[in-house]
């Protein structure tokens, strides 16, 4: 099933990659596509740092005794795994890589509204990243990514201030990216690109950007307060000095809950594009999917205290937040049903991006459903702070967000790099990731209900937990292989991959009407849009005889 073209080596065309050479042309670029690649390299680095920490944790948990690393070391490992993965990998991932690359192209613009601020975003990310790396190399931080007080402000002997400041600076990267996207989507759509004609990837990024803009500043100021309290021995969160440790938790979770929607919404946007393309149909219920993205962003701000059901909040507050948490689940369910319905009477292809989308559907469904367990007050009392929660959020963040990210990378790789990745290896990697993931994290649901608490490195008094931990560790090694493969073959493809046609998937969307890779200013002349999104009927009407897929 290979594409009819791409047997002749095309003449080297000018594109955004070869237009200028030299380190300076990259480090001072304002081209959104180059900035996207800068992010791609940086976040991949942090992904493997965070993944390495996870590997060490899983190795420790193979045996009940704490015999691989010391207690303090393990505490630093899970803390830095969380901070690196959340702040330096997941939150930027899709928006900073795929969003930066695609948002202008999808709406028919030459660049984002503020290209220099886009570059500033990347530099802020790098500065935060350098600080975080320095913190890791010079001792690390052991407060957990949640920085609970008064442990972080008055008891920890680790580098809390440095880690807090690193994340603080990194937060502005996120804020500026969100700001850029909102202005771009509002003001720079090509003529004829009405809101109802926008790809749902754009709607998803719009909703994500709202959260980034309104939520991130709150965690920023919270970290400022933690740093100030620790440095100056203040008492804002310390009960011994009249402060309230729960105030920290409220302020922290006010951002950190919406943050998880920053992580999942873009992935949902990717999955929508992929499912539409590889079913050759317009997404079922376009407006409902668009509105559900916005609904998730809005409701997401109303549920933060469901992380605090046993923290000492009142029963009545708990009831309110539990009720609201179910409201957030509804739009997510709606999306899953709409994606499934899109498959009905489609013309489905099983290329690697679609395999990742299928994986997303399955894993996000499970992860989302386990959220219902956690929102149920009676059950949450038992499973909060156990491996049940860890399994839940990894299903969403890894099984959901990361699968979407990988699927998106594969889908748009020909556009980004001008090369085709090797399809066989990609399908294999998708399968390995799916299997490895389930083996790693499903046993953790059982472990959690059994009562294994989070953040324990030693369970020698509970040897009954070992079998499930061994299964989980075994899965994590498989998962690791699944992540290494794409890194290897993507790099390989940049040199040896088949040159990609401009639209290898015959996909809808303005980005596919540009060159692969695109020129610096994307479009030869400003497009004028006269068609609806996902016009696969028009696209396929002329291709009845072909099976339009890359082999």
């Amino acid at each position: 099933m290979s594409m009819a073209t791409a047997t002749v080596q095309p003449v080297e065309r000018e594109d955004y990659l070869n237009k200028h050479y030299g380190v300076g042309s990259w480090l001072l670029t304002t081209d959104h596509k180059r900035i996207a690649l800068l992010y791609l390299i940086s976040i991949t680095f942090f992904f493997f740092v965070g993944g390495f920490f996870a590997l060490l944790m899983r190795l420790e948990l193979l045996t009940p005794a704490g015999d691989l690393v010391q207690a303090d070391t393990y505490n630093k490992l899970f803390s830095m795994h969380g901070m690196v993965m959340v702040f330096f990998f997941l939150i930027p991932s899709i928006p900073a890589v795929l969003g930066n690359f695609l948002v202008p192209m999808m709406i028919g613009a030459k660049d984002l509204a503020f290209p220099k601020i886009n570059l500033l975003s990347w530099y802020l990310y790098i500065i935060g990243g350098v600080m975080m790396t320095h913190c890791i190399l010079t001792g690390g931080v052991d407060t957990g990514w949640t920085f609970y007080t008064p442990f972080s402000t008055a008891f920890s002997n680790s580098k809390v201030i440095e880690a807090g400041l690193a994340i603080f600076i990194n937060g502005f990267s996120s804020i500026l990216t969100g700001l850029n996207f909102v202005v771009t989507i509002h003001r720079m759509r090509a003529p004829g690109m009405t809101w109802s004609r926008l790809p749902l990837f754009i709607w998803a990024h719009y909703a994500t950007s709202i959260i980034q803009i309104l939520g991130t500043p709150v965690v920023a100021i919270t970290l400022v307060l933690v740093v100030a309290e620790r440095a100056l021995h203040l008492g804002i969160f310390d009960p011994k000095l009249g402060g309230d440790p729960l105030l920290f938790q409220h302020l922290f979770w006010f951002y950190s809950h919406p943050a998880v929607y920053i992580m999942i919404l873009p992935s949902m946007g990717v999955v929508t594009e992929v499912i539409a393309c590889f079913s050759r149909k317009r997404i079922f219920g376009y407006h409902f999917v668009a509105m559900s993205s916005v609904a998730i962003a809005v409701f997401g701000f109303l549920v933060w205290a469901h992380h605090m059901f046993v923290a000492g909040i009142s029963v009545y507050a708990a009831l309110v937040f539990s009720l609201l948490s179910y409201s957030v689940a509804v739009p997510s369910a709606v999306k899953v049903f709409n994606w499934t319905a899109t498959l009905y009477k489609g013309s489905i292809h099983y290329d690697a991006p679609m395999l990742y989308a299928f994986g997303f559907l399955g894993l996000f469904t499970i992860g989302g459903l386990t959220g219902l367990f956690l929102a149920a007050l009676g059950v949450d009392v038992h499973v909060t702070d156990t491996y049940f929660v860890i399994a839940h959020f990894h299903y969403i963040m890894v099984g959901g967000a990361l699968m979407g990210y990988l699927g998106g990378l594969h889908f748009w790789w020909p556009k980004i790099s001008g090369r085709l990745y090797p399809e066989g290896w990609a399908r294999l990697a998708a399968l390995i990731v799916f299997i490895g993931f389930n083996l790693t994290f499903f046993p953790q649901f059982v472990l959690g209900y059994l009562g294994m608490p989070r953040r324990y490195y030693d369970y020698s008094h509970m040897p009954e937990f070992q079998v499930l931990n061994v299964l989980s560790t075994a899965g994590s090694t498989i998962l690791g292989i699944g992540y290494l493969l794409p890194m290897i073959y993507f790099l390989w493809s940049m040199r040896y991959g088949k040159p990609a046609p401009d639209n290898p998937w015959n996909a809808a969307g303005l980005e596919w009407q540009t060159q692969s890779p695109p020129t610096t200013f994307n479009f030869v002349e400003e497009p004028v849009v006269t068609w609806e999104a996902y016009n696969y009927d028009e696209i396929d009407a002329g291709h009845k005889q072909e099976a339009p897929v890359v082999g």
């Binding site: 003001r187 720079m188 919270t222």
Partner: protein
């Protein structure tokens, strides 16, 4: 490729289609940035309001010890500076170069006056040992409008002062950044970069300055005027 066939305002950046799009985008971007600033200060205001409700008497006693006259003067100074900012924008829109330059200068001067008064206040607090930390002391301070002999809890007062310094300090930091922005605007204006057709930087710089002013207008009564009856 449409190379510069038609001439356009050199201020029009390449990725925008029209000047209007550029102007609207800049303005919209600044408004969104101000929304993030509202959330940023918002966390502090939230913490402040919670503790004020919990420890009202102690906060009232602490509030009495900061100088409302100086704070009030600063409020007047900032309101005047917002007036000069509006003048600057109008001057740019109507090509009044002298007025533009002088408005920008006066704005910056007023900003410096604000910071100077702030410095005096901070110095007073330092001298009175009201700076949180090892040297903090707040013994036997009467709670206003409470029976004689009811003293403020020093630990709670220390929370007031911690928030006072962090909130006004963050605000002052924004003022300093604002001075930097206006210095840059002044240089650009001096070089004649602004015309009635293009003076967006002044508009959005003005928006930022107004925001910093508004934050102070909330800070002043909340911090300085707790429980002060006539």
């Amino acid at each position: 490729m449409a190379a510069h066939a038609e001439s356009h305002n050199p201020a029009l950046l390449h990725h925008f289609a029209t000047e209007e799009q550029q102007r609207n985008s800049a303005s919209f971007g600044m408004w969104i940035f101000l929304a993030t600033e509202v959330m940023f200060f918002g966390g502090l205001f939230c913490a402040y309001l919670i503790y004020r409700r919990l420890y009202f008497g102690d906060f009232a006693a602490a509030s009495k010890s900061i100088d409302a006259l100086l704070g009030g003067t600063n409020t007047a100074v900032l309101i005047c500076s917002s007036l000069t900012v509006v003048l600057a924008v109008w001057a740019a829109a109507t090509a009044r170069r002298t007025l533009l330059l002088s408005s920008l200068v006066v704005t910056m001067l007023l900003g410096c006056v604000f910071l100077g008064i702030k410095a005096k206040e901070y110095k007073d607090k330092f001298d009175e040992h009201h700076v949180p930390g090892a040297t903090f002391s707040f013994e036997h301070e009467q709670v206003p409008n409470a029976p004689e002999g009811v003293y403020a809890n020093p630990r709670h007062a220390e929370i007031f002062f911690a928030l006072y310094f962090i909130m006004t300090g963050l605000h002052a930091l924004h003022m300093i950044i604002g001075l930097g922005i206006f210095a840059w605007l002044l240089i650009m204006a001096w070089r004649g970069r602004f015309t009635p057709e293009y003076h967006t930087p002044i508009e959005i710089g003005g928006l930022y300055w107004h925001f910093v002013d508004i934050v102070w207008i909330y800070l002043f009564p909340l911090l300085y005027l707790i429980d002060r009856h006539a």
